[in-house]
Point group: C2
Chain length 406, copies 2
């Protein structure tokens, strides 16, 4: 990055990215002998490849599917998303005009950062935070402040204290459903509180929701869907989601719902950034999202399988480590969050674990400061229960080897 | 753009974009009663939709095609591009490691601007220039300087005079083959001259080449391919191309070839921007690019048809307007460039032309200053010869109506 022929701003903007733990780890997980619980990939074996192939065949019958697309997305997709968002909001109508389709929700984050954040502006994130969001805000040269996540999501009482003390964020970013990496879901009360704060202090909330459809927590009354979106409680909420986790990452279809001024600004920026998305993959996503009986059945399979994988992982961890490891009880999403109680440093454990053929993400990768050194994120999504059991055995052996050395 | 809730930088960066002529025109061309010669779209009827459908079916047999992709592009695609680039450079070997696949070549331009250009840095562009490049450099807040295009491409003698007088660009951007909008191709001598200047003055050349494969100019010796790329003559050249014009825009597959330091910087930025491209469309593009006998036959059809459309357009314009209109003689690409000799202002002609059911892009859309007001760009790519003849008749009627009013 130090070449005099690259821009000075590049070095500044990407300083914190050059040694991203996630980047380095994703490289390692490509090794055939490593079981990776590190990545944020959905289960390959659960991606509906036959339905995707049928959608490809179907949309390619229209010449519409091979040309350039409108910059804010193909109308058919925007309408399908608006219909699903209306359902997600308990019937509060969402117009297709307020939907912009992006190249995955990561592009939505990037373009929103360009539209809403000046260098030096304050952005509040979860602590711990989704690393992809930290990356975007680093490139945008924002001043990032964090608010702790508790078992009921971002601590909005703490946020309110900071606001009263003078904090003036342009944007508050949170993953309210099945948080990455913590796994928790924000309570309805905190959603309403955050919405009130957004209205009172005039900041945007980016409600980043890639996992909201993958719920499987059970109560006496059955399966628990998360509470209504934060967007139901304020007009200052921009809600992001994606087809990557429920259909397939390869579609590169994400989206956000926002007021017209924000949509218009992002449309301009997207035209400069890449002209438009793929009309083919957008129409494929639209077909699958609008095929409601197929989608309901597919989501039921995903929820059942992810639930069984989550149980397999957490049970194996309990059996292997007992009280030496505290493990979250996932009720949705793709991740378990765990913390060693015996002083194990997960940054030290990782290379030993890789030697023993298993990968995870150390907690420090999600922290802005030197935190979570005893924590780790484990993805249960990508592996069958048998493979997860094997992975946990390997982790146990690695942990024993590290403890012996110490 | 004046909302206090959008970033101050946004207004500054997008100031010149809010009333983009191309944007407004693309909206108009959606009208069913308008024959559009305005857009930069390849011919829909020549997009190989059956081959694309076969490629989709073929790649979706592998689970590799539905997951996330490596950030710089799927290895299979990068290798296929490297092989074609090696051919394009007359056998000079190009390694797949120096290829980065992007979401269309527009994204390559955007990420390169972020990697190479600080706000206020000088960027030299063609005069007239590709509007998509002007948009990117405007968002990057570059100081844009133009060098005129002549019949043999960017006037490198004028560029050298400006460099000697102290101009210090970070980047020189040019469309060397079948220029958009002028249609001309840079001579071999000027390519070598530009490469020498890049080495001497230490700037990057962005050689933007979406149209180089669509050549159909004829000499006594047969069909004329353009001269060897500028990239053959200096290591300070970043060469961009795309599958959009030769396969289909819907793939959203573009790419560039550059030294490793530039590739690494763009990879970091792309990871933040959108994580990665679509493995499905990248593998589809790779399959078609590597299917060399099919591709050769397909390109032969494209060249023959585009040639026949170019001739149909320019002949009809000559018959309709005679000496009142000077028309370029396209030898490739998608555009004819014309200039009225009778004082007609093409900005005034456009609304009348739309009333008569035909659209084009006025020359002023490609100028940084108040130039080219008698010029216009006409795309022959998207219409059959019969439709082109109809379009020119409509343009003649519109021109007569405008002249009568005057």
């Amino acid at each position: 990055m130090s070449s005099p022929y690259l821009s000075a701003g590049l070095a500044r903007r990407t300083e914190s990215l050059t040694s991203s733990a996630i980047r380095d780890l994703l490289a390692l997980t490509a090794r055939d002998d490593v079981i990776s619980l590190a990545g944020g990939l959905p289960a390959t074996d659960l991606i509906p490849v036959n339905r995707i192939a049928a959608a490809a065949e179907s949309v390619l019958r229209s010449p519409d599917a091979v040309q350039y697309c409108a910059t804010p997305g193909h109308r058919t997709l925007r309408s399908a998303i608006a219909a699903r968002e209306t359902l997600a909001r308990g019937g509060m109508p969402v117009s297709a005009d307020t939907v912009v389709a992006t190249h995955g929700s990561q592009q939505a984050l990037t373009l929103l950062a360009q539209a809403l954040i000046d260098p030096g502006a304050v952005v509040v994130v979860d602590e711990p935070a989704y690393t992809g969001a930290l990356q975007v805000f680093s490139i945008a040269e924002a001043q990032v402040e964090s608010i702790p996540i508790t078992d009921t999501g971002m601590d909005t009482e703490e946020l309110e204290r900071r606001l009263k003390a003078g904090l003036r964020p342009a944007v508050v970013h949170t993953v309210a459903n099945f948080h990455n990496p913590r796994g928790v879901t924000m309570s309805d009360q905190r959603r309403r509180h955050l919405a009130v704060l957004a209205d009172r202090y005039g900041f945007w909330v980016i409600e980043d929701d890639p996992y909201g459809e993958i719920f499987f927590g059970t109560t006496e009354s059955g399966i628990d869907a998360p509470p209504l979106p934060i967007a139901c409680h304020s007009d200052r909420v921009i809600r992001l989601s994606s087809a990557s986790k429920i259909l397939a990452p390869t579609l590169r279809v994400g989206w956000f719902v926002a007021p017209p001024g924000v949509c218009g600004a992002v449309e301009l920026l997207k035209q400069g950034a890449d002209l438009c998305g793929s009309s083919m993959t957008q129409l494929m996503a639209a077909e699958m999202l609008a095929d409601t009986s197929w989608l309901a059945a597919h989501l039921a399979v995903l929820r059942r399988e992810y639930s069984s994988r989550a149980t397999a992982l957490t049970s194996a961890l309990a059996a292997e480590f007992g009280s030496r490891l505290t493990v979250s009880r996932p009720a949705g999403g793709m991740f378990a969050w765990a913390a060693f109680e015996d002083g194990t440093d997960t940054g030290e454990l990782l290379p030993v674990a890789l030697d023993h053929g298993v990968a995870f993400v150390p907690g420090a990768a999600f922290a802005s400061a030197a935190q979570y050194r005893h924590s780790l994120r484990l993805s249960f999504a990508g592996s069958t229960p048998a493979v997860l059991a094997d992975a946990v055995r390997r982790l146990g052996t690695a942990h024993a080897a590290l403890t012996r050395v110490r």
